[in-house]
Symmetry: C2
Subunit: 349 residues, 2 copies
DNA sequence: CTGAAAGCGCTTACAG
DNA sequence: CTGAAAGCGCTTACAG
């Protein structure tokens, strides 16, 4: 048990009121007892109970939670810097606090993290990221009556059909984005395109792969299942996967990636293979992280306004928590194709 | 005033106990009243009071706070992804929560953010970043008796002399790092070095600039004050400053930057000026963010273990909060020089 | 199935 | 200068 103000009072033969006043820095306390109280507090290892204080002073406040999906122990996707900045700025705008945790996605620890927050009432609402086609979190939070908003929206669910449930979301039209991207790359003369994606349960994987296929179709190019690889959205996996792709008998002349991080790894592998990116082989990503402008060569990518997306997610969630009416609770954005040298255009943007 | 369980009970002519039990999902409640309670709760916009719940259930928990210094509305320094991941992983290891806010450094809003957290008992301890030579936060938190740990340590203060105060910190030896960096660049034949730093009040600015000067000295190169520029640690400022540097009569043949983000902007400006980085001009950064490997050309940098630094900071802070003994409360790390093509070596690392 | 009551740890008028 | 008491909003044995 943590030591309380009462323990100090007992030990010193004082009232809790006196102890509280001394510790809170009131001046109407005898210098002598003040000192004894501080000494005892230090010695006994007293820490004020935050909940009690907030309850008493009526200063609870709303807390919004976000669990960051971290894949590797030292991942450094700048996507998240921008995303968290957006979350932080918008939560502040609503006089709310932002609680953050990290968890390897898909692992038991992730489930525990969500459960803990919900069951211990740590947060008033949650921001969900990296939605899966069937996402247990959606089901779970609806059941527990915890408000949330999502980036991407899961598919219609056969059983629960949570897709119809009333929760706000922001979606980026990856499908159309990829169709545009494939068209652009085909226009520049590349024919044998590969795609490095992520786990098939991810919503963005489903959408982007579908866009890739449809894009090939519209460009009159054949689809070769051999050219579809599964990565894990890190540059490391982009690197390793490309090594494999380049060693098969009929290697690709273009590699499209589910995100920029993956593409960075691809660039490196392509370079090591002695190929010239943009000439011998095209490479493209998705996200539009700022560093993509400075890669070697600059990376063609589908840009999404990560900062604004984060703000929207919080705005939608806050509206729900504070029961304010929403003009719309389902926002769909189009990514912007940023054409740079990695797909053959020599002028970098 | 927020609506409470008591309001619902009053309106329905029930006891608070009954309402509480119904809302918590207990089954020993008449289906009929259960429904009435839920309906009323929804209608009246009831949200459980977190503080009260946590106090009652004895599930308060320790909270560690970090205020992220964001310079631009859409900054995307991947340094912070890594830093926050470290904070998140280590706070979880101590069964604590991580509260995050964003604030433009130096602005009034930043002060307000710290004050709010402290005065409303939002956090049990704080992680401080981007320390200034004389940092008001150190003074303030000592006075308020809020534990904290710092990345970098302010100078000895004339007045308060808070430098002697007993708080833990992690320091990176930027001074020595820069001496090494200058030596390396001089060895590769570059003579007229410029330095793009940050605001003079930043501790890292003082250290890195001093290292730069001492390095020049040791290499037998003259120091030209004209070659020292003030940026703001963003790639945008690196870009703009380089434009200026390259337009003076006797431009530099090397540009050393306070961080990688700045260097990314430099690379771009150098490229636009038609110069070949690594041949006509050397460019180097500091941080070792992962993307520096993929820049054009790959960037020479002083690597610091950002993820581990973040974990250490939390570990030190947690020890203080939980009053556990520390083997040491002042950790000093050496950065590692990563030599890549941007300073003239053609083999990228 | 529901009510009355105690209590989580703290703060703060109110007496004296 | 210090004590006694009320109360913040909630949960949970304990009766009935």
């Amino acid at each position: 048990m943590a030591v309380t103000i009462k323990d100090i009072a007992n030990r010193l033969g004082l009232s809790v009121g006196a102890v509280s006043r001394a510790l809170s820095g009131y001046t109407d306390i005898a210098e002598d007892t003040r000192e004894r109280i501080f000494e005892a507090a230090r010695e006994m290892g007293y820490t004020p109970n935050r909940a009690a204080r907030q309850l008493r002073k009526q200063t609870v406040g709303t807390t919004i939670g976000y669990i960051m999906p971290v894949d590797s122990p030292r991942f450094a996707d700048s996507y998240f810097s921008e995303f968290i900045e957006g979350l932080g700025d918008e939560t502040a705008a609503h006089q709310s606090d932002l609680l953050i945790a990290t968890a390897r996605p898909g692992q038991e620890a992730e489930k525990m993290a969500y459960r803990q927050w919900v069951e211990n009432s740590k947060v008033d609402g949650l921001i969900l990221d990296r939605l899966q086609v069937h996402d247990w979190r959606v089901q779970y939070l609806i059941e527990k009556r915890v408000p949330f908003s999502t980036l991407e929206r899961p598919e219609k669910d056969r059983d629960g059909d949570t897709s119809q449930a009333d929760y706000p979301s922001v979606e980026v039209d990856s499908f159309n984005g990829f169709i545009q991207l494939v068209a652009h790359i085909a226009r520049n003369g590349f024919r044998r395109m590969a795609y490095i994606g992520g786990p098939p349960r991810l919503k963005i994987q489903v959408d982007r792969l579908a866009g890739f296929q449809t894009g090939l179709n519209q460009a009159g190019l054949p689809f070769d299942p051999q050219m579809v690889m599964e990565g894990d959205l890190t540059s490391t996996s982009g690197y390793a996967t490309t090594k494999r792709l380049l060693s098969i008998p009929d290697p690709p002349d273009a590699i499209l990636c589910i995100n920029d991080e993956t593409a960075f790894g691809v660039l490196r592998a392509v370079d090591e293979a002695g190929l010239r990116t943009g000439q011998d082989i095209a490479v493209a990503g998705f996200d539009g992280v700022r560093d993509a402008r400075y890669s070697n060569p600059p990376l063609t990518t589908l840009d999404q306004p990560v900062y604004d997306i984060a703000r929207q997610l919080v705005r939608l969630l806050a509206a729900q928590i504070f029961r304010q009416p929403l003009p719309t609770s389902r926002i769909i954005l189009q990514p912007t194709l940023l054409i740079r040298a990695s797909t053959g255009n020599l002028i970098s943007v």
